[in-house]
């Protein structure tokens, strides 16, 4: 439990002079299941993008598996579950192709997919209970099913660290439950999981650590510890989210 997989020190990120992330110091250890919480604009997605090298840093440093981000090469150890794939709506892409694409990497350029890689994709599709839909066009599946396909895609990559961007946003109760069950299995396998979310309730029992971000002049991290999040930090967005759930079902794909 003490292996540090992601180390973030004094991280600052600015957009056009606005401080999105201020002085973030977080150590993430192997086996952690982290809920990254905070209202819109608090920098949750920016933090994830920074960890993945998609967002330039203004200050601070990030280390992945002991290697500085700039020199990190073992990207197969990290997988991101996005909310959707922008390219999957213009040309038909099958569920199977989507899941198997998790195994694509420059390392495998000179050979076809191995038996092991295909088996991992097959297993992943069974894990998310969508094996029967493997030949379907991805964009003909429901929002919840598509999200499960993207989770399967991350599973097929056999990564040690799995990051999920708002995995439960817009899902119905059944799909949220399926996702929570899947997270439980991943946790049991010792994977490190980081879930960006507005809503911790569905997965609270699995979460080992909650990190709450908020816009701030000094420190973006408002709380970093085991759940439940103390009310002083959770108050605002909890109420906001309850309102969304009660009054109108969220629409898939609306979150930025």
């Amino acid at each position: 439990m003490t292996d540090t997989v992601i180390s973030i020190e004094r991280l600052c990120v600015e957009f056009d002079g606005a401080h999105v992330l201020e002085d973030v110091n977080v150590q993430i250890h192997a086996g952690d299941v982290i809920a990254l919480l905070g209202p819109n604009g608090s920098g949750k997605s920016t933090l994830i993008r920074a960890i993945l090298g998609l967002q330039p840093l203004d200050h601070g440093r990030i280390t992945l598996f002991g290697t500085p981000l700039r020199r990190f090469k073992q990207w197969q150890r990290i997988a991101l579950v996005p909310q959707r794939l922008p390219g999957a709506s213009s040309i038909p892409v099958s569920v199977w192709e989507t899941v198997l694409s998790g195994a694509i990497s420059p390392r495998t350029r000179w050979r076809p997919f191995s038996r092991a890689e295909k088996n991992a994709a097959i297993q992943a599709l069974h894990d998310v209970d969508l094996w029967d839909r493997r030949h379907s066009r991805l964009d003909t599946l429901s929002g919840g099913q598509q999200r499960r396909v993207l989770v399967a895609r991350a599973l097929a990559s056999n990564a040690d660290v799995i990051m999920m961007d708002e995995p439960t946003a817009g899902l119905d109760a059944a799909n949220v439950a399926a996702l929570a069950r899947l997270l439980g299995e991943l946790k049991a396998k010792g994977r490190t999981i980081i879930v960006v979310t507005h809503e911790i309730d569905a997965i609270e029992s699995l979460v080992t650590r909650a990190i709450v971000l908020a816009p701030s002049e000094h420190h973006s991290v408002q709380y970093d510890g085991p759940p439940p999040v103390p009310n002083t930090f959770a108050h605002d967005h909890h109420h906001h989210h309850d309102a969304v759930i009660d009054e109108a079902p969220p629409v898939i794909g609306m979150e930025p």
């Binding site: 993008r49 993945l52 090298g53 998609l54 090469k73 990207w75 197969q76 990290i78 997988a79 991101l80 996005p82 794939l85 922008p86 390219g87 999957a88 213009s90 040309i91 038909p92 892409v93 099958s94 199977w96 192709e97 989507t98 694409s101 998790g102 694509i104 990497s105 420059p106 390392r107 495998t108 350029r109 000179w110 839909r133 030949h135 379907s136 066009r137 003909t140 990559s157």
Partner: protein
């Protein structure tokens, strides 16, 4: 058909058309997925400057156009990367420059160069020399080898560039590779289909195929079938009606699109009932 096969120039033109029909949709499928359907169009315009330059300098058109189009590919990717907002205006400028440069250089060239520019704009049955065929063959083999090794990475980038980068894929290098592949297709297609319509043979077969397919691989395969059918029958048709082949090929590809649009309705309905 025996009549057509009797002419050496028609045999060469048919082979060249089949090669274009084969590789153009294979590149087009990535362009459509990345929403870059017009990239091939622009590349054709840039290649025209190469043709004009070849007339002016007396060099061979295919290598000169290839060099210009490849340079254009780098420029386009550079512009797209550098200026997110003004990107399409910058691209438009490059494309206008391509056509203007081509026509200008060709009219400055000695002899009847500017009148033969027409055959590069809309394609021609009689301009494929046997040396050209070897050059086209080499370019097609190059494209197929690149796709064999880099196809999966190009696919990942076109699904989601951010995710692809997290998979360790060099996204910018792949984007540039994509633009260069489009440039090669433009040059392969310029003799038979012509530079103004060559991008249609990249895009229309893909647009037609994706109406009835369910996977990327099947879309690419069906698009290639449509591409080859349209290129070959369009070429044969243009021989009989004595029209330039480019427009004939594109009209047949569009007809394939229309037919598949009609066929797609019952297919989709049945699939919905199935799932």
């Amino acid at each position: 058909m025996t009549m057509i096969w009797d002419f050496d120039f028609m045999r060469r033109a048919l082979l060249a058309a089949a090669l274009v029909g084969l590789i153009a949709p294979l590149i087009g499928v990535f362009l459509v997925q990345r929403r870059l359907a017009l990239l091939g169009d622009g590349m054709g315009h840039v290649a025209l400057t190469g043709v004009g330059l070849a007339f002016l300098l007396g060099t061979a058109p295919i290598p000169t156009a290839m060099a210009t189009a490849a340079l254009g590919a780098f420029l386009i990717e550079f512009i797209r990367y550098r200026s997110r907002t003004a990107g399409d205006v910058a691209l438009a400028l490059l494309f206008y420059g391509g056509i203007a440069g081509g026509v200008l250089f060709a009219s400055l060239a000695p002899g009847r160069a500017s009148s033969s520019l027409n055959s590069y704009l809309f394609g021609s049955l009689s301009t494929v020399a046997s040396g050209d065929l070897w050059a086209l063959g080499a370019l097609v083999v190059t494209v197929l080898l690149i796709l064999l090794f880099f196809g999966r990475e190009l696919f990942a980038v076109s699904l989601d560039p951010d995710i692809a980068q997290v998979q360790g894929i060099k996204v910018r290098a792949m984007s540039t590779l994509m633009a260069i592949l489009a440039a090669i297709v433009v040059v392969v297609g310029m003799r038979v289909v012509g530079l103004l319509l060559v991008s249609a043979i990249m895009i229309v077969p893909v647009a037609a195929a994706q109406q009835v397919t369910r996977s990327f691989r099947a879309t690419a395969a069906l698009a290639v079938v449509i591409g080859v059918i349209a290129s070959v029958t369009g070429l044969v048709g243009s021989f009989y009606v004595e029209a330039p082949p480019g427009p004939a090929i594109v009209i047949i590809a569009l007809a394939c699109f229309a037919i598949l649009a009609i066929v797609a309705v019952p297919i989709r309905r049945r699939r919905r009932e199935h799932s």
